[in-house]
Assembly symmetry: C2
Homo-oligomer: 290 residues x 2
């Protein structure tokens, strides 16, 4: 149970966290700050936060738990803004989709107080953003990855784990590097592909007509292409090393299958499709594939 | 209104068509044939068809409307099996996802009776197959593309159009080549990509662990990867020329965006993502993009 949450970034992720913490009775008071004053004001009017802070630093003042829910590219600047008030007893977390860059920024900026920082990535989101879409159920039943380093205080990791479990999440620990490779594969690359597919169609003659013919498969496949451009620009840039690795592996698979289709190698093509189809048919969110 | 539907292929697509036609009062009697006798029997037990035919030819005998609902690769053989009983008054349609190969097969095999054939592609489906998933609502509200050639009898095209409209569909006409290019872009390539993505992840060290971390975005993006392997092998092979064209355009877009991420060109990357994101955000199934 926490006394005061300092929430930096009152958008979809941060707002949903504050609402879920309040509902679960895990925090008494939420002090919020957003870069845009109108967002902070709206969050307070909606009851998502109790008090508006005029700066990130003042949002941290007096808090025993701090959540950074800002675009990953803004993480380092946010650490700089708050570092003078981070204490050893304070649990500091983020919700960023990349972890290696965040951990490096924490080490650079927080120095000794990096012990208070438990890097976190809740696997939840919507293709819409903003506090008006905040939802206390956003994290319910979802996975949360914690990527503590050897300098993170184990007691803070335990508190972080209990907190997310208290919000109905399944918590796993991974090294930041493994996290980034995994999410390059299952999230960042699929987003990049969805953007590139839309782009490739839009720029051909009759492309808009073609798009009008997309059915239910196209709808689901491209849903993530509608995601927030600034947020995804930042994620793709932050995780570019792993992303490029994954993209290369994907392209090899794509080239292999395309070549089989071109050469009329039906049997071998069917074999590869069957493998993919079986794996996907047995896939369940939040469960390790057998 | 038709007297007797000769249904060749009593699976998901064919079974759903028979159920929808019956419910709409558009046909009195359905005579069905499937390659596997157990499928035909199950279709009759479920009331999807009224009479089991022992061969494709006998399913056509006495019919005033015939629907081929077989894998695209089986189309030519099916035309050969039925051609002796195809008449000038009979409306013959298929439901295949590719049209150029089907039209060519029809010309080769049906000769003069090709006038009776109205190539059709209802944009509907499920990632599961089989008569047990047949659903009279499958076609409701969906688009149907007709690709008549200069040899198709206009009266048959009109009857086909009215029939699909009677099932609640929106009907468009296109040339077979335009159809195949469009569906390579919005359906066949997305399937190939989804198969290749699953494949690329499965074959890396820790791949199964990675898959366990996929969230809601991954779930929707890869849903089509669970599709039927034989059916998709046939579609990818049948439409390989257009598929390869589309795959090349997609790969150019992907390479461009990857390069921008690698080079840290955030502004330009955001521009391309924004274009894709806006297009997808304004996309509505069945509507031409403005």
């Amino acid at each position: 149970m926490f006394e005061q949450l300092g929430l930096i970034g009152c958008g979809l992720m941060g707002g949903s966290f504050a609402m879920a913490m309040k509902r679960a009775g895990l925090v008494k008071r939420v002090v919020g700050y957003s870069k845009s004053p109108s967002t902070t004001e709206r969050a307070r009017q909606m009851g998502v936060i109790d008090v508006e802070a005029p700066s990130a630093l003042l949002a941290v003042s007096g808090a025993d738990i701090v959540l950074l829910a800002v675009p990953v590219a803004a993480t380092e600047a946010t650490f700089k803004a708050i570092r003078h008030l981070v204490t050893a007893n304070m649990l500091v977390m983020d919700v960023g989709s990349t972890k290696r860059d965040v951990v490096e920024a924490a080490h650079r900026v927080l120095r000794d107080h990096v012990a208070s920082f438990v890097p976190a990535h809740p696997i939840a989101g919507k293709e819409v953003s903003g506090v008006e879409h905040a939802d206390p159920d956003l994290y319910q039943g979802k996975q949360v990855i914690l990527t503590p380093t050897e300098r993170t205080l184990p007691a803070h990791v335990r508190r972080a784990q209990e907190l997310w479990e208290g919000l109905g999440c399944h918590v796993h620990q991974m090294a930041p590097e493994s996290h980034d490779a995994a999410f390059a594969a299952v999230s960042h690359l699929p987003h990049l592909i969805a953007f590139a597919l839309m782009h490739g169609i839009l720029h051909q003659y009759n492309g808009k007509e073609f798009l009008g013919l997309g059915g239910p498969g196209f709808k689901d496949f491209t849903r993530i292409a509608a995601s927030d451009p600034k947020m995804w620009r930042d994620i793709l840039l932050a995780n570019r090393v792993e992303l490029v690795e994954q993209a290369k592996m994907f392209q090899r698979s794509l080239m292999t299958m395309m070549k089989l289709a071109e050469d009329g190698e039906g049997e071998k093509l069917e074999e590869l499709i069957t493998e993919a189809s079986n794996a996907r048919a047995h896939w369940r969110m939040g469960q390790k594939l057998k």
